[in-house]
Symmetry: C2
Subunit: 142 residues, 2 copies
DNA sequence: TGGTTTGTTGACCGTTTTAGTCAATAAAGG
DNA sequence: CCTTTATTGACTAAAACGGTCAACAAACCA
């Protein structure tokens, strides 16, 4: 029932980008350092984020990565979903056909409710909200 | 973000016991067959359930395992918690000291909300309710 | 043009976790 | 004492996971 490091790191990366929204590309190296993520690992993390159009990358001098949408429009649900593959606590919730007992299994119904509950929380949080929460904790100082 | 097989099997085992509440011990072998769980695996599953007093075991002829409390009093939360170790989606929610950034990390706050949401669902379901749901799906026929 | 900066990709590795098995043991019943 | 049944511990195979390395590609700059 643990979230993968991919998803945890991924949200932190996007939070970092959201904090610097509007300031142009941020270096992977800097993100790695600020968020304490191994750089080579980070390099792989961003792949899916680019592919789905959440961030864009810029190469060469003064390059880096940056958000494609304003923080207000990026919801945590899609991010976790993307990096985690699925937020369902069991396979059969997303793919009933993987278990022959799916249609009559009452425990499956519970796992489905769990998935919904998780989804509700994650759909209700945007990067913008994370930024605001962070600013409240830290004060404006980065 | 997947539930372990331990937890999935475990709830099915308890459901099976709840369905036969009041009928005396049920053979591990029968449970294994009905719920399609490998018997040797099942043998290990029950260990923690016995230890925490959710079920009791009886050896020898006409032995097996049985619930210690009525199904109404067994809540899914404690079962999953027990078999899963924890329902927190990240370590730092249960043990803030495992991450130095815990007190200032806003993503951690979100994971905490996720944990609460999962907990709320699981605390709201008892074995008795699973039994009733199952009877509704199947009719009274086992 | 060529070199430097930066992201991109794919192959690879070591560890841990997980699901599952096997076999030896212990208790209860008949 | 023999059979039935649960208990325990050692063990294994496979997958997942976190992480690294190195070769490559694009953008920029001089």
């Amino acid at each position: 029932m643990k979230l993968s490091t991919r998803a945890r790191y991924g949200t932190r990366v996007l939070l970092e980008l959201a904090l610097h929204w509007g300031e142009g590309p941020i270096l992977l190296k800097d993100i790695a350092q600020k968020q304490q993520i191994p750089l080579p690992y980070l390099q792989h993390l961003i792949g899916p984020l680019v592919k789905t159009g959440i961030i864009k990358t810029t190469r060469g001098k003064r390059g880096g990565i940056s958000l494609l949408k304003p923080p207000k429009e990026v919801v945590l649900g899609e991010v976790v979903q993307l990096l985690e593959g699925s937020i369902a606590p069991v396979k059969c919730v997303d793919n009933p056909e993987t278990c022959p007992r799916s249609d009559l299994c009452v425990t499956r119904d519970i796992w489905e409710e769990v998935k919904k509950a998780i989804g509700t929380v994650l759909e209700s949080v945007t990067l913008q909200e994370l930024v605001e929460r962070q600013r409240q904790k830290y004060g404006k100082n980065d």
